[in-house]
C-alpha cells in the first residue's frame, strides 16, 4: 500500500491545461503548413514532380494554393519547393468546418466555428462519439486513444467515446474509406440517432492520405456523409483534434487563434 501512495505522490498531476496551457511542442514539430506567396513563383511547376501528396494545387497562371487536408506532413512536401516557399509551422490548430476551409492560398485555415445554437444546446456540454475505422493504418486511432490519457483528458470536456452507435451523438471516421468497410461505416452512421455529427480525422478520411488513388479506397469520406469537422494530420496531434472539438462545441471562441 505504501508503494501505491508513494507512486501516486511521485506521479503528481500531469494533465495539460487546455486551452491556454504551454503546448511545449518541439522545434522540429511539423504543424500547419504554410505557403509564402511571395516566394512562390506564378506558373512555376517545379514542385509538382517532387511532391508526394496533393498538398499544392497548381493553377495554370497565378499562385498555387495549399490543401492542408491533403497534407501528409512529410519533410518531402516542404522540400519539394526549390524556392523554400513551403514550410511547417509549430501551430497545431488547423481543423475546419468545411472541406474548403482547408484549401487556402497561404495555409491559413479558416478554423472551425461553433455548432448552430440548437446543436450546441444538445451537445455542448456532453458529446458521445463512436469511432469507425475504415481503411486506416491505426495512427489516427492511436492519437484518438491518447486523447483519453491523463495528459489530454478528453473526458473533462464532457466528450467521450462510447461502445454503441445507439448511445452516440456522432461518429469519428478515420481511414481512407475502403471498400471492405464501406457497408459497416454506412450501417454505423444509420444506427446513430439524429441529430448527429460526423467528424473526419486525418488525411486519409479527408482526402485518401497516402492511399489516395488505390482501387480499394474511396479517397476519403468525401460525398458519402455530411461532415461537420475536418481534422488534418498524418496523424493529427492530439492537440489538433482537441482544438477542433472544442471549437465545434464553442468552448474555444471562433476566430481565437491565441497568442500567435
Amino acid at each position: 500500500m505504501s508503494n501505491f501512495l508513494r507512486t501516486r505522490l511521485r506521479q503528481g498531476t500531469r494533465t495539460l491545461r487546455f486551452p491556454g496551457g504551454d503546448m511545449d511542442l518541439p522545434e522540429r514539430f511539423r504543424g500547419r503548413p504554410v505557403l509564402e506567396s511571395g516566394r512562390c513563383r506564378s506558373g512555376c511547376r517545379d514542385c509538382a514532380a517532387l511532391m508526394p501528396s496533393q498538398l499544392v494545387r497548381l493553377e495554370r497562371d497565378g499562385p498555387a494554393t495549399l490543401d492542408v487536408g491533403a497534407c501528409l506532413f512529410s519533410p518531402e512536401e516542404a522540400l519539394a519547393c526549390p524556392d523554400g516557399a513551403i514550410h511547417y509551422t509549430r501551430d497545431h490548430r488547423m481543423a475546419g468546418s468545411t472541406r474548403n476551409a482547408l484549401i487556402t492560398p497561404t495555409g491559413e485555415v479558416e478554423l472551425a466555428g461553433r455548432l448552430g445554437e440548437g446543436a450546441r444546446r444538445l451537445f455542448g456540454r456532453s458529446l458521445r462519439l463512436r469511432s469507425v475505422v475504415a481503411g486506416s493504418c491505426n495512427g489516427c486511432e492511436a492519437e484518438l486513444v491518447a486523447l483519453g490519457n491523463v495528459v489530454f483528458d478528453l473526458a473533462r470536456f464532457g466528450v467521450q467515446f462510447v461502445a454503441s452507435p445507439r448511445h452516440a451523438d456522432g461518429i469519428v471516421v478515420t481511414g481512407a474509406v475502403n471498400t471492405n468497410m464501406r457497408l459497416a461505416l454506412e450501417k454505423t452512421y444509420e444506427a446513430v440517432p439524429a441529430p448527429k455529427l460526423v467528424i473526419a480525422v486525418g488525411a486519409c478520411a479527408i482526402s485518401g492520405g497516402p492511399f489516395r488513388g488505390s482501387p480499394e479506397v474511396a479517397d476519403g469520406i468525401g460525398s458519402l456523409l455530411p461532415v461537420d469537422l475536418w481534422v488534418p494530420g498524418c496523424p493529427p496531434h492530439p492537440l489538433t483534434i482537441l482544438d477542433g472539438l472544442l471549437r465545434l462545441l464553442g468552448r474555444i471562441a471562433s476566430g481565437d487563434r491565441g497568442g500567435e
Binding site: 507512486t7 508526394p52 511547417y88 475502403n178 471492405n180
Partner: protein
C-alpha cells in the same frame, strides 16, 4: 530450393534473380517442406505474374541459428500442389497467393480468402473471379448447448476493424475464428507503382504504430538493391528510433493490459509514459510516431549533442517512473492472478507455425532479428534476447518488461556514444533483376520486406509481411479453452495489427 546450399542471401543483401534456383512445382514444394521440417523457418512465400498466363512463386526461408536466408522459386499455371498439406507455416501465405494471384493451391486445408479483394497480382490472361466481400464461411460448432458470439468489425472501443466469431459452451470458448481484411487498402500495388518519394510514405502507413519498423525494412531492401551504404551515424539514429518505438508500444501495451484487469493506477501512469516516449520520437523526427525520419540512404534528421543529452535526461526520468509503476503492477497479487494461465501458447505450436516476436519469446523461443540476423547498429551493440517460458498473458507481459529495460539501456548507451559523420548517403537507382530481403525486429516481431526488381531496375514485386500475419493464428490457437470474458486481456497481450495484416 536447396536450403542446405548457401546462396549468400542474408538480411539486407541481394542475390541475382537468375541465381535463385527454380524447380518444378512438386520439387519446389518438397524442398520448402523438407527445409522447414529440418528447422528452417518460412519467412515469406509470395507470387507474381510471369508472362501473361503464369505465376512465379518465391519462397524465402531462414536458418535463424546460422543467420542465413535462402530463396527458391517455381512457375505454375492456374493451380499447383499446395505446400500447406505438409507445412502449416505455408497456410496463410498460400491463402494470400490464391487471393492475390488467382491460382489454386490444390489440397489446401483452408481455401477461404484472407482479405476479400480481387486479385492484384494475377497474370493478365487469368479471368477475373467474382469476389464476395461480405460472404465468409465462418468456422462453427453445432450442438444444443453451443452458442455463438459475434464481435466486430466495428468494435466497442477505438480499435481497428476485424471480426471475431466465438463458439462457446457456457463461458468456455471452444473455437475462435478471426475474419480479417477490413483494413485492406491495397498497400503492395502502391509500393510497387508509386514513385519513391511517395512509396516511403506508404511504407510508413502500413501499420501506424510501427512507422519506424516498416520504414526501416522498406529502406533496408531498397538500400541493398541500390548498394547504398549508410553511415554508422545514420544506422545508430535509426536503431535508436526503432527502440524508442518499441519502448512506447511495450509501455502502452502493459498499460492497456493493466486497464483490462481494472488496475487503473498503472493503466493511467503507463498511458502517460507511453506518451513520453512518443514525444522523444517527436523531438527527433517532428512527429510522435517517427514519421519522416527513416529514408533510403540514412536518416532525414540529425541528432545533435544537445538533443542527445536532453533525451538522456528525459529517459532517466522515464526509467525512474517505470521502476515505480511496473513495481506496483507486477507485485500486485490480483494482477498476477488475472494474467497467469490465460491464453497459453505452447512452444511446439510456436515452432510449428513460425510464430514471431513477443508471443514466441514468451514461449521460450529465442527468436529475434536483432540477434539472429543482425544489421546496422545491432551488429555492434547487442540487445540481449528476452524470453519467458509459460506462454501465457503473464509471460508476454514479462517479456515486454524485460525488453523495456533492455531498450532503455540500449538507447541510453547509444545516445552517449553517437558515431560522427553524415546522416544520409546516396541511394540511387536499383540494380536490375535482383532479389533483396530485409528483416527488422519491430516491436511486434519480425517485419519482412522482400523486393524483386525487373530487368530495368523497376520494382517488379514488393512483398510485405507484418508479424501480425503469423501471429493472428497464434491468438486463434491460444484462446480456446479460456473464458470468453478473458478475451480482451488475451487479445491485448498479443496486440496485433489489423492494418499490418490487411495491407
Amino acid at each position: 530450393m536447396s536450403a542446405t546450399a548457401d546462396s549468400g542471401l542474408r538480411n539486407r543483401r541481394t542475390v541475382p534473380w537468375a541465381a535463385v534456383p527454380r524447380s518444378a512445382p512438386e520439387a519446389f514444394a518438397a524442398d520448402v517442406c523438407d527445409a522447414v521440417a529440418t528447422g528452417w523457418r518460412l519467412v515469406s512465400l509470395f507470387g507474381m505474374p510471369e508472362g501473361d498466363d503464369r505465376v512465379c512463386l518465391v519462397a524465402i526461408t531462414a536458418d535463424d541459428r546460422a543467420g542465413a536466408l535462402a530463396a527458391g522459386g517455381t512457375v505454375v499455371g492456374k493451380e499447383y500442389p499446395a505446400l500447406s498439406t505438409r507445412c502449416v507455416q505455408a497456410e496463410r501465405f498460400e491463402r494470400e497467393i490464391a487471393e492475390q494471384c488467382g491460382v489454386t493451391p490444390l489440397g489446401h486445408p483452408d481455401p477461404r480468402p484472407l482479405r476479400r479483394h480481387p486479385p492484384d497480382h494475377a497474370p493478365r490472361a487469368f479471368p477475373a473471379p467474382t469476389v464476395d466481400r461480405e460472404g465468409y464461411a465462418v468456422l462453427r460448432i453445432t450442438g444444443e448447448d453451443v452458442h455463438e458470439v459475434a464481435v466486430g468489425p466495428v468494435h466497442a472501443g477505438i480499435i481497428e476493424p476485424g471480426h471475431f466469431r466465438f463458439q462457446a459452451h457456457g463461458e468456455e470458448v471452444l473455437l475462435l475464428d478471426i475474419v480479417l481484411g477490413y483494413q485492406h487498402r491495397g498497400v503492395e500495388p502502391l509500393l510497387e507503382t508509386a514513385d519513391r518519394a511517395r512509396a516511403v510514405l506508404v511504407a510508413e502507413s502500413i501499420a501506424g504504430d510501427t512507422v519506424v519498423g516498416h520504414a526501416e525494412a522498406y529502406c533496408g531492401a531498397l538500400e541493398a538493391l541500390a548498394r547504398s551504404h549508410k553511415t554508422p551515424r545514420a544506422q545508430t539514429i535509426r536503431a535508436l528510433a526503432l527502440e524508442l518505438e518499441r519502448l512506447a508500444n511495450h509501455i502502452g501495451d502493459l498499460g492497456a493490459m493493466a486497464g483490462d484487469v481494472a488496475f487503473q493506477p498503472a493503466a493511467a501512469y503507463l498511458g502517460r509514459l507511453r506518451g513520453e516516449c512518443l514525444n522523444l520520437l517527436m523531438t527527433l523526427a517532428g512527429n510522435r510516431y517517427g514519421r519522416g525520419l527513416v529514408r533510403p540512404g540514412g536518416a532525414m534528421f540529425d541528432l545533435p549533442d544537445a538533443m542527445a543529452s536532453d533525451m538522456r535526461a528525459r529517459l532517466d526520468a522515464v526509467r525512474q517512473d517505470l521502476s515505480d509503476v511496473l513495481g506496483i503492477l507486477f507485485d500486485n497479487a490480483s494482477v498476477q492472478a488475472r494474467f497467469e494461465g490465460v491464453g497459453v501458447l505452447t512452444r511446439s505450436v510456436c515452432e510449428e507455425r513460425g510464430i514471431v516476436g513477443v508471443a514466441a519469446r514468451a514461449c521460450e523461443v529465442p527468436r529475434d532479428v536483432r540477434y539472429d540476423h543482425p544489421y546496422g547498429a545491432f551488429r555492434f551493440a547487442h540487445v540481449p534476447v528476452a524470453t519467458a517460458w509459460a506462454g501465457d498473458v503473464l509471460a508476454r507481459a514479462l517479456v515486454r518488461q524485460l525488453e523495456i529495460q533492455r531498450s532503455l539501456d540500449f538507447v541510453t548507451d547509444q545516445l552517449a556514444a553517437l558515431p560522427r559523420g553524415a546522416i544520409r548517403a546516396e541511394c540511387g537507382p536499383l540494380r536490375p533483376s535482383e532479389l533483396a530481403v530485409a528483416l527488422t525486429e519491430g516491436w511486434r516481431g519480425e517485419i519482412v520486406h522482400a523486393v524483386v526488381t525487373d530487368e530495368n531496375g523497376n520494382v517488379r514485386r514488393h512483398k510485405v509481411t507484418d508479424p501480425s500475419f503469423h501471429n493472428w493464428t497464434a491468438l486463434a490457437l491460444a484462446f480456446p479453452g479460456n473464458e470468453i470474458s478473458d478475451f480482451p486481456l488475451c487479445n491485448k497481450s498479443f496486440n496485433l495489427s489489423y492494418a499490418g495484416h490487411d495491407l
